[in-house]
Symmetry: D3
Subunit: 325 residues, 6 copies
Amino acid sequence: MMRLSPPGYAKFSQTNTLELAYGGGEANVAISLAYLGLNACHVTRFPDNLLGRAATQFLRQNWLDTSKVVYGDQRMGQYFLEKGAVHRASEVVYERDHSAFARLKPEMFDWEEILKDADWFHWTGITPAISQGTADACLQAIKVANRLGITVSADVNSRKSLWQYGKTRHEVLPSLIERSDILMASEYDLIDIFQLANDPENSSFKEVVKEVSQKLPRLNKIFDKAREMVSASHHRIQGKMWNGSSVAKTPFLDVTHIVDRVGTGDAYCAGVIFGLLHYKNDQDALRFATAACALKHTVEGDANMVSFENVKGLADGNTSGRIIR
Amino acid sequence: MMRLSPPGYAKFSQTNTLELAYGGGEANVAISLAYLGLNACHVTRFPDNLLGRAATQFLRQNWLDTSKVVYGDQRMGQYFLEKGAVHRASEVVYERDHSAFARLKPEMFDWEEILKDADWFHWTGITPAISQGTADACLQAIKVANRLGITVSADVNSRKSLWQYGKTRHEVLPSLIERSDILMASEYDLIDIFQLANDPENSSFKEVVKEVSQKLPRLNKIFDKAREMVSASHHRIQGKMWNGSSVAKTPFLDVTHIVDRVGTGDAYCAGVIFGLLHYKNDQDALRFATAACALKHTVEGDANMVSFENVKGLADGNTSGRIIR
Amino acid sequence: MMRLSPPGYAKFSQTNTLELAYGGGEANVAISLAYLGLNACHVTRFPDNLLGRAATQFLRQNWLDTSKVVYGDQRMGQYFLEKGAVHRASEVVYERDHSAFARLKPEMFDWEEILKDADWFHWTGITPAISQGTADACLQAIKVANRLGITVSADVNSRKSLWQYGKTRHEVLPSLIERSDILMASEYDLIDIFQLANDPENSSFKEVVKEVSQKLPRLNKIFDKAREMVSASHHRIQGKMWNGSSVAKTPFLDVTHIVDRVGTGDAYCAGVIFGLLHYKNDQDALRFATAACALKHTVEGDANMVSFENVKGLADGNTSGRIIR
Amino acid sequence: MMRLSPPGYAKFSQTNTLELAYGGGEANVAISLAYLGLNACHVTRFPDNLLGRAATQFLRQNWLDTSKVVYGDQRMGQYFLEKGAVHRASEVVYERDHSAFARLKPEMFDWEEILKDADWFHWTGITPAISQGTADACLQAIKVANRLGITVSADVNSRKSLWQYGKTRHEVLPSLIERSDILMASEYDLIDIFQLANDPENSSFKEVVKEVSQKLPRLNKIFDKAREMVSASHHRIQGKMWNGSSVAKTPFLDVTHIVDRVGTGDAYCAGVIFGLLHYKNDQDALRFATAACALKHTVEGDANMVSFENVKGLADGNTSGRIIR
Amino acid sequence: MMRLSPPGYAKFSQTNTLELAYGGGEANVAISLAYLGLNACHVTRFPDNLLGRAATQFLRQNWLDTSKVVYGDQRMGQYFLEKGAVHRASEVVYERDHSAFARLKPEMFDWEEILKDADWFHWTGITPAISQGTADACLQAIKVANRLGITVSADVNSRKSLWQYGKTRHEVLPSLIERSDILMASEYDLIDIFQLANDPENSSFKEVVKEVSQKLPRLNKIFDKAREMVSASHHRIQGKMWNGSSVAKTPFLDVTHIVDRVGTGDAYCAGVIFGLLHYKNDQDALRFATAACALKHTVEGDANMVSFENVKGLADGNTSGRIIR
Amino acid sequence: MMRLSPPGYAKFSQTNTLELAYGGGEANVAISLAYLGLNACHVTRFPDNLLGRAATQFLRQNWLDTSKVVYGDQRMGQYFLEKGAVHRASEVVYERDHSAFARLKPEMFDWEEILKDADWFHWTGITPAISQGTADACLQAIKVANRLGITVSADVNSRKSLWQYGKTRHEVLPSLIERSDILMASEYDLIDIFQLANDPENSSFKEVVKEVSQKLPRLNKIFDKAREMVSASHHRIQGKMWNGSSVAKTPFLDVTHIVDRVGTGDAYCAGVIFGLLHYKNDQDALRFATAACALKHTVEGDANMVSFENVKGLADGNTSGRIIR
């Protein structure tokens, strides 16, 4: 998606220039992984015009393999962001309908070919929420990944309000999730998606993931994070992980001067994926993911453009931000 | 529409900021008339969100009465503009489908109320080209204007490629044009719209307008302009007018250093409307309109933000651009 | 007034671009009320040149009715702002002398006509401080408002140093205040304006307003706020109100990352006016006003461009700044 | 003066940033001379606040000696510039009244001390036009310069409309001009200032300067330039010089793509002064001055920031603008 | 190289922001070819720090394959550009010494591997001018290309002043040129490089290339262009080609409003390469190359970011710059 | 040095504009002293091109005497800064090798002449770390200062990694330090430079300075500061001073919202120098220096552009940042 936002803390009525970047759940995860040092390929559909080309160029600039992007139609998904501060919330308007992405058809992608050299496939709950086409393509990709023995991770965190094409998320997501190995999801998501009987206000993450994991034999681990919002400028972040038997948590990281709050969940997912690939110890992976998430709050734009050294330093407890020279 | 363009002559892939303005045929004409000193009201439909509000604020800032704007849906029409120079053409991508404007319904507007104090109603051929709803609303407005004795002017110049909703321009436009008093149209437009037998390459403006005017008893005058494109940076502009019996032409104005070429046709229309209201002599009106058109090439954005004194000076032959202090 | 400030935290010697906005006590209150959803009209005098037109356009853009602005002379009031942070104070230089506003004469305004449909009239102590002309016009307007039964509110908070035309504030303000229904003033202001015997350092808001209110039979309520300045980047705001018999206070709101501190008092006034019109309960109005004041610290420019929903959310205790999508 | 202008060709209503620079007749000449390699000192009065300091810093940055600037009052002279193109004229609004400069008093400057090491003193007709104080100080400085044997040059070109303090230019300027050695003036200026009987429309430069020079025994040379304004974007410049017996002219230089037209007359004066000091041959000086003037049209801001090599190259006929590497 | 330039026509002393792009002879050619639709790979050495990464990202954004870039050392080649207009020349300062590129060693590149799938190898005379290392690496690459049967093209146009490491261009270039198939060179270059007896001022392109081609049996074609510099803002461009037996020339293309003159020679080379690959007819290739060169003058930055359709349109004679929508 | 940094918190790959300023240890101290009201002269060597001129102009703009700058060579020292926030550290890349400064020779400076009217000479440990030439020139200057009875202050804080020309800091610095009167140094620096036996982790500032001061009879006072880095956005600063017999410390100043952390050590040095010259009481000087250091964190760029009043206010305990109007 094209991201358009007034500079600084201005409102749309206060500006005649907009800052332009590109983002979106899976793209953000891919870029983040590329900055951490992995080869990452983003598969999507862009409009066949100057906007689609510019978006592709943005992904290439940020180290992604874009050879699998397909082109067609004329509209680019967009979102408009007015950045808030302290007690003033950021405001976001999405324009995803009728975009080249929303109109993609499963047959536009040859997943056997696309995934043939891949080690990992990541999807988010936003994709199946956009249209029947994206939901179908996502399911096909996951099935191919399963067949090829590729690890599948899922960030299910899609707001209910996204589902506008006639399906609800508890109709669609379970069949995708049950084919995934790693899950990022809160207890609220899981209760809703799997239509559990638990009372969302009185169920712990542990209770819910325990129950859900019984239904999902393939599932390996479930990650979540706690976010305390002191204000729009100050969040506190904690990583949580269910490893099949117990829940581990990190200490809170205190992000006292937020630069850009968007994409922090995607940064967490990328941290989880990288961490699981890089570390033997799940706890190390969790700390790495939490540090990645915290660092994203200090990076402009949707994607977490920080290096492995940056994240590792914070995961190892160095919160001082001392100048690197 | 929201207009988004890279700064200066940059391409989309060269920038991370976009310049933001708002424009569109009728809005441009209205703003131009407001700068010339008339009271102008823009009637449209905007999305009911921060983009619709910001667009309204832009119109208000540029002196328009926005009390008749209606709100609904979520999408704002957009266009993306890469500015060219010399031999490099500007490129424009439009995103009008599914916008709040495209989805308007005739019953959203009470034209009797809207037009009750108006002296003039102007429409462009873009409006009926967008959707059945806009076409119907346009026709209704014209009919009410006719009933109230309000002068109706039409800029028919809508590219064929705009018509995507199942109707062609020669099916729709004639019934709107025959209820209009003043027409802005080239011989090419007229041959196509009225499906004349004339060969577009070998028919003069005079021949065509003569023939067309016989079919249109209400019609008063037809205006057109010649545009010689030396390059993307240098155009030459001439005004032309059929007054019912003969064709008058102005000398060419030489615009040697184009700042912004968009909206120059709308500036011409505004010049025609203002000129006909202000001058007794048609020839004066034509010169005024041509000068307004030429000046627009030096103003950033879609609309011609110049004063009556600015236009009159050039219409009177002062091409020197001497500093006003 | 034209507001000119270097970008970010730069000093004048560090920049070759200035950010341009417009503001001023009453205009800020009016814009704030317009964003909250009221019809607001700003009455002033601007220079009759491109600066006066641009200022008018700024007000129009921000929803104000500018039909009562009068034009004349050549100078626009200005102020220059260097924004500070933490221990570095912001610096402001005012240039108000000889402006079109300072030179206005009472006879330039027909208050009967201007106020004929109004429900509320608001003035600030800055206006009568500028010149005899502005003081006289302000008094005339208040008298007309009284006659028409329009509520009059006054923000008396004008620095002593403003009074340069030969009168002091205790000579001029009492006769304006005694005709006002709602007052925004601190105990320090009131002691000075009414030349009370109280020791400013040892008198409470309650003691002083009690005494003052005996002299002002028309007066209904007095509002004030406490501002703890932890640093230039961090203030704490509390609303206070005397309702004729007792003093109510809100909890402190902690503004930890100030974006723009200018105009926060005007935002408070607008919150008071809107709150008193909207809520039955004074305490609700006070909470609303305090929230409005706190939010202004996060908005660039002089005026509080936030919606009713924004303010109400904070007044209701939602300090989290959660993204609105 | 502080110069404030919208970026590019925008109008004040189209921008929320202004470009900031400083300029003014004598300052422009001084900066231009400094860039050509001379030691130049600017003597003026600035406000005693952050604006006066920033203006001083601008002059220092541009190589001037600012040790003779005096400070007082609060207002900085300003001008607002909207840049035009082609047929659209630039518009300028001046705000000079009540500035620190306008309020200077002759006794604030010790000219004996200021001029003790100077070789040349230059004044413009703008200075005595501002106030009695500036006129008196200018006359005092010229008298001291005469006494110290310093060459005095005068650019008399002050628009009549500048004179607002009760004196006209033909009352004030003659006594200043008669003490000057070098004059920059057109025949129109001279007829008006010396109240000659010549018809301005039918008198040549030669006729007029011949007559004037008889009244001015001290006068050495009179320089003027012809400016053909093809449009706001394209001027043609010719230098003219009366050397006491005959008039010499340069060929026209064709400035086809004007970047900034302001200060071109000051650049010409600086070229005259430098040329007369540097060249033995008046004709060489004239060519140098004309080239300096033409080059200023390509430099942003008020002052001609070009080197001796830049000017000499053009004076020697190199119009190709070949890249210097 | 990192390209740093003040915005617009500002000088370094007038700005506190610099525009950042990346460029350099071969990179410009490669980017230009990529925009025309070819797969292009840039082989170079960048510093192993954030600057080297950012430069790589720029190349990736502009469609290049950067998998062959090697990293080491700390310094990025740079150049500083002050853009001129009309009679004011642009000024360029280069900082190439001690850069990662200047310090590359031939053994850092495995040309067999790099070129194994290539069809074409292009080098410029700048590379062997920088250091012995770059000269050696260039020769090695050419030899491998010869061995693999890859077409080699050479843009010999390296200024004499570049050669600072102890060799002159006539010592080094001939052995590289004699292994090349296509040459871009003027008669002046050729006389100097091959130390011909011809008088540069009185020898035609035809005479010189005839003579040179006898010494270079491998050589196929020699391209050159004529550039008439009306001013820094207006050039006229003509393509010239020696096909082994005769010289062909295109008409002049008139670039009347130059946006960015840098890299126009590289755009010509890219046009030659693309043209020779795409067209059967040399004359078509020459017209295409000349059009590509002319278009580059309208594109910001070093590289010609225009499409095949853009160039073909101009090569086919469409100079009107009509908006593409 | 030229300082180039992306705007705000952007990374190099996210921007196409860089912010340009100039800085460097001694220059920062000199500018800071000039803003505090002293006459300050910066002695250095700049390249003889447009970059050297622009750097000189920056120094002049910031009130320095630049008459002692010498010019030669082509390269300007540079550094590239990516600004971090919270847990993300700023990153700096230096390019000092081969610069005009690194290549200076002692004989290029006539220190007798340069220092003849000076009261104070300040050097930093960076200068002798760059090259043998700079080390020699620094020593010469100190010797001349000693001879002329000028106070010499030294900020020894040069990172070990700077020393690349074959000498280590403990070989070079002692002979410079023993000729200095005032020292800014931490216990870690001193242990390393004087190769003390103390364990850096278990020695107090007091212990170390006591020992060092015995070796340095000339030495008068040693200043240091404690910096607690809560995060990259929040530091706490404390001043420390050894006056020959005891260590004094200030309370910590809490810099909660850092704007620019670079140059804060230089601001401290300038505060020490000014404080010692201005105050009789060392403790006052220390408080002044600490306040100067804290304030620098709120000023963009390398140098502390704050006034005496700004610093004194904070030194006197006013941390509120109340607007100055």
